[in-house]
């Protein structure tokens, strides 16, 4: 990459937002120090990662992926089964990145030629198939159940507490993914993805191999959600089908992405920063799960009615 191109990437005013976000997330919660805030921080990172992974394909191109939870849960189960079968953590994390992306390659290679809603429904079906397979996992692998309790892995870095180490692991992943999405958005791949989102026929005529770049975007996204699922599974130390292969989670990811604005690198961050505090408030205020779900439903409906293009779309118009 030559210097002028590099300066072009890091020349805009968006970079200040990027740096300040990195500093704020790196400094404030660890200084505040309470377990509660660190836990919320980890959840903010998790939701940002999942939404970024959705945004890479669906936000830019408009091919809506309703199967994020499939790759997320696959990552979690890979780590869970690896720990049960004594496979080293590093190898397991590597597999949690590779296997979902391979699945993404297979699914994307065959189904990204389908247009719009049909692709979405295919991904939803894939999620339901995979969740069904893992729900009945004892059918394939004897002596395992779909609920996996794994021991807390001592991941202390330099004498930090366990939760603080997890905070920093998620933080590093968050920074890496945010910078990567930023670079992708300003690169040739990002422009090609946006071109597909604007008008796929024209993009193809301009010489873009649309199926190839869509599959690449899907695979990058699945790597992110696979690793996020693996790390969150280790953090929770409990892996179960309703938590990880959750249709609700998939829809929340879409909702957060639309809320923050899809097709922009900061959209997922804005969406998550708005969603997670509200989520916490709902959990604190309502102790009956039915009422809290009614609140979630109302949130979904209100945001979609009042700002169908999201807050990020609004900010995008103001910045330009």
């Amino acid at each position: 990459m030559d210097t002028r191109k590099f300066l072009h990437i890091f020349g805009s005013r968006e970079i200040f937002i990027l740096i300040s976000l990195v500093v704020i997330f790196g400094a404030i919660p660890p200084l505040a120090g309470s377990m509660y805030i660190l836990n919320i921080g980890i959840r903010i990172f998790l939701w940002t990662l999942l939404t970024q992974s959705w945004n890479l394909l669906s936000g830019y191109t408009g091919y809506t992926n309703i199967g994020v939870a499939a790759f997320y849960g696959l990552g979690a189960y890979i780590i869970g089964l690896s720990i049960v079968y004594n496979i080293p953590i590093i190898v397991a994390l590597f597999m949690a990145a590779i296997i979902p992306s391979f699945l993404g390659l297979v699914i994307g290679g065959v189904s990204l030629r389908l247009r719009g809603t049909y692709f979405s429904i295919t991904t939803l079906m894939i999620l339901l198939i995979i969740s069904n397979i893992f729900y009945n996992i004892s059918y394939f692998i004897p002596r395992t159940t779909s609920e996996i309790w794994i021991p807390q892995i001592p991941m202390s870095i330099g004498g930090m507490s366990l939760i603080l180490s997890y905070y920093f692991i998620f933080y590093v992943l968050f920074v890496v993914v945010t910078i990567t999405t930023y670079v992708i958005e300003k690169s040739k791949l990002g422009y090609a993805l946006k071109a597909v989102g604007e008008d796929e026929m024209v993009a193809e005529e301009l010489g873009i191999n649309t199926t190839k770049i869509k599959v690449i975007a899907l695979m990058l996204g699945t790597i992110i959600s696979g690793i996020a699922g693996a790390l969150y599974g280790m953090y929770l130390s409990y892996i179960d089908v309703p938590i990880f292969f959750s249709t609700f989670l998939t829809f929340v990811v879409m909702y957060v992405a639309v809320l923050g604005g899809k097709g922009v690198w900061y959209g997922p961050i804005i969406g998550t920063l708005l969603y997670v505090p509200v989520d916490e408030a709902i959990v604190l205020l309502t102790n009956i799960p039915e009422y809290s779900r009614i609140f979630y439903g109302l949130l979904f409906v209100l945001v979609m009615l009042l700002m169908p293009e999201g807050i990020g779309g609004f900010i995008k118009k103001k910045i330009r």
């Binding site: 408009g62 309703i66 719009g116 439903g297 409906v301 979609m304 009615l305």
Partner: protein
């Protein structure tokens, strides 16, 4: 012995196939009209089921007597949904499919949990006074009539959409909205009425639900994937396709429960759908629009 079992599976397959056809006819037509799959439609079917089950249990009302009332209410509900959500989103959003899916998912969650709070999460069913005995099985009149009713409803819809002037105008407004508007067709009004009709079919299916299956608010998530499968395979908005595929899926689900554990039946159906979508991305039948 085996032949009796086979006939039982055949009957159950045809009954549930007829029921699925009825459910998905409204779903698929609504999808074709609004350009977005409406998840809350399935929840409203369960609402109709809950109401029917309560009336049946408390006053012993036959579900079929209740269905005209519920169909009327659901027609109004469909018109309301179209006015408030569908036409609003179609005007304001560039790609209503994604936003509509998320919005109706939110509505679905609200409805499901309101139903749990109001009607309790118990499993409920209804009974009928008209019972037939076929061999070892006890069938109500509804089991016998499910498939014929699905066929009658789909034939009526086919006649309405393909043989009447109103249907021609409606198809024009779905396939070529701008051209239809230039010709002076009030497409919003036509679609609104069609959406109401789609919902009233859902209300009708809902009154049969507590007697053919059972009602439980969260069970609606189980019927949703099956509805998607039937709607897509049959072609979105295709009446004959939906009816045929609905019956076939009912038979497949019934017969494969002989060989497979119940949990695997839905997985098998999803695999069939994915494979067929790869071969024929637009479904097996030509849809509307």
């Amino acid at each position: 012995m085996t032949s009796i079992i086979d006939i039982a599976y055949l009957i159950m397959g045809l009954v549930s196939g007829g029921f699925y056809s009825l459910v998905v006819l409204g779903f698929s037509l609504g999808w074709a009209v609004s350009k977005m799959p409406d998840i809350s439609y399935i929840m409203f079917i369960y609402l109709a089921g809950e109401i029917t089950a309560i009336f049946n249990k408390m006053f012993g009302v036959e579900p079929l007597l209740l269905s005209p009332l519920i169909m009327g209410l659901f027609f109004g509900l469909g018109v309301f949904m179209y006015k408030v959500f569908v036409s609003f989103l179609n005007r304001r959003v560039s790609e209503p499919g994604l936003v509509g899916l998320t919005l109706t998912f939110g509505l679905g969650i609200i409805l499901e949990n309101l139903m749990i709070v109001i009607f309790t999460p118990d499993f409920k069913s209804a009974t009928s006074a008209y019972v037939l005995r076929v061999g070892d099985m006890t069938l109500t009149i509804y089991h016998v009539l499910a498939l014929p009713m699905a066929i009658v409803v789909s034939l009526l819809l086919y006649f309405l959409i393909f043989k009447t002037r109103w249907g021609i105008l409606l198809r024009a407004s779905i396939q070529e909205p701008i051209g239809a508007a230039i010709c002076g067709i009030e497409s919003e009004k036509l679609r609104m009425i069609m959406y109401g009709i789609a919902y009233s079919i859902g209300g009708f299916a809902g009154t049969l639900l507590p007697i053919l299956q059972y009602v439980q608010p969260s069970a609606s998530w189980g019927i949703m994937p099956i509805s998607f499968i039937i709607a897509i395979l049959g072609g979105v908005g295709s009446i004959i396709g939906t009816a045929i595929i609905g019956i076939i899926i009912g038979l497949i689900a019934s017969y494969s429960s002989v060989f497979l554990p119940a949990a695997w039946v839905s997985t098998e159906l999803f695999l069939v759908l994915v494979i067929i979508l790869l071969v024929r991305p637009r479904g097996l039948f030509k849809g509307l629009g």
